[in-house]
Amino acid sequence: MSTPAVAEAHAHDHGPEENKFQLFVEIAMLLAVITGIEIITVYLPFASWLLVTTLVFFSAVKFLFVIFIFMHLRWDKPFCTILFFIGLFLGGGTMWALLKLFGAAASFPLSSAGM
């Protein structure tokens, strides 16, 4: 019970060199499957807010798998993760703020503009 768990923890601590190859291939297959699901999703007859949320969710899952496994963040020092997430949050936050600003009623283009 505790011993296999400890052994498993050890294997992860030192980076399971042999399993890494296997792990990478498995994750790649998973990512391909998720991509397939995303493509099917757009054709499903559900409300658009649900579909959009689903797509964003799946993209986020793929994103996180790539950065934590392929880019190795899971096994690196936490500071690397913090560093990248600072940029990610700032970029995402700026995008969110810009979209909110341009989505506000005051920012709609005038109907007579340029047509």
Partner: protein
Amino acid sequence: MADALAKSGFIGKDDGHAAPKTFVLWRPTAKTGLMGWLTTVDHKRIGFLYGISALTFFLIGGIEALLIRTQLIVPNNHFLSAQQYNEMFTMHATTMIFLAIMPLSAAFFNFIMPLQIGARDVAFPRLNAFSYWVFLAGAIIVNLGWFMKDGAPNGGWFGYTPLTTKLFSPNHAIDMWVMGLQLLGVASIAASLNFIITIINLRAPGMTMMRLPVFTWMTLVTAFLLVLAFPAITIALVELMMDRLFGTNFFEVSNGGMPILWTHLFWVFGHPEVYILILPGMGVISEILPTFSRKPLFGYPIVVFSGASIGFLGFGVWSHHMFTTGLGTMGTAAFALTTMVIAVPTGVKIFNWIGTLWGGHISMRTPMLFALGFIWMFMLGGFSGVMHAAAPADAEQHNSYFVVAHFHYVLIGGSLFSLLAGIHYWFPLMFGRKVSEFWGKLSFWIVFCGFNITFFPMHFLGLNGMPRRTFTYDHNMGWDTGNMIATIGAFILGIGVAVYFVVMIYTYFKGERTYKDPWDARTLEWSLPCPPPEYNYRVIPTVHARDNWWYEKHHQEEIAKENAEHEEAEEAHGGIHMPFQSIYPFIAALGILIGAIGVAVIDPDPGPGLIGKKLAVSIIGFLIFFVAVCLWSLEGNEGYHIHPKKDE
């Protein structure tokens, strides 16, 4: 530490001193002369290059300012034409921001920061050199217009569309501005990445993050701001350039574009930029006040945390430059709120500085005068800033001279005063000479008086309706007296700056010699001889506390024993490891310069055969860059070892 360095699988090993490799991968060894400067990777020399460039461009920007003020001394003046006036205020701002204040800060980041963390150089010495040369390339491109038929950039330092689109600015002045700014961005990002890695990874043993000198902390926060803010203006400039070169529709209203997008993207960069301009100065002040009050900085953790907060919050306030563009109620309210919030950590810092002075043994040397001037003048600029934060009030103040007054109080009273203080403070360390107290203080008082006479009246001019960026005004607006006083003040300021410069140059050649720690200071850089040797520390210090030099001075026996042990260890591992010099950073920057000029002068509708030639210039430039980068990579990061004598 020496042990760790020797064991590391990541550091290039000893390659023998300048062992020639192949005919292109030889390592230069010149320490003097032109080649010495072109191939240097020493952070102290690179800092000096930034400093000299900054001060030269500061003089040029100052002349541009005096020309502006001369035009405005009386109503309906014809000293400058409207076109020339537009070029003047554009170039004055671009020069002062990008070519004077930022590189002056970079000069201190380069020279002082590695010394403060007990390192021998930055993490990537060649990248450091590359940053400087690309900065110089950008500075050249932005100023080339003075020598071209098309004239200097004239769209304002903020380049608002649609004024800067091809339709309203058909010639190449704006193209030069765009490409110059892109290069300055590349330089800033490369340098900042370097500083981040250096501060995080190259600290001396025992130097935890909370023992870092505040100047180093502010270097770190500024570096983060730079790498995260510049991409926004990079994108904006790319979009503008694509509109100008390829006829895309980013800002083309007739095809669905929105010029306001430029304004947003510009200020997403532009607001963090102003914190980039002030935070280094705040770091300098946080070093000077404790030294000349003979007390540790009051509330160190809070000062550090406030600096980081200002940096982070600075990304959330940009639309306060756009209150009058019709953001909508929610948008306006949100940004007014965040802008008021950001005043809080700034105020906290002021209180901590006052706390540092309180009860201290004040020594009124020249750096201290500038520092006290900073606190007071920056506060005034902060007050007018908070007044802008109230959106309804800003509706009146926006685009008037009230804004000009505000930002000159924070930029001159804040950034410039603190950097001038830093020059005085660190002059002995950098050049081994001390500036005369009398002349230093005199230059301070002339600058202080001139500065206030110039900019205080502008608050009233603004509230009385005088708009910015207009080349003249009529005589019955009630603005005559204010403008006359401001111009007289500007010339007094000019005299003060001139005195400051003459004093510096004189001191460099003939000043009183100093040898070590002339101010009885607190941080590690003062433990070195003035000026420091090429390798900085003969023995990497072990850090025991904040203000480690102060600790070392009061625990001399303990430190002496420690140093002796470390010295033996380093000798045992082969001596001090130094990086080789390299010509490739310079050549890579040269390639970028040529390529960027090529891109700037390409015409969308050229005469026959002309686009071929200009395109060829761009391609050749980028090829030179590519080859230089390949050779830079191939020459490797090996170095050589030196064994300094005991009494060096």
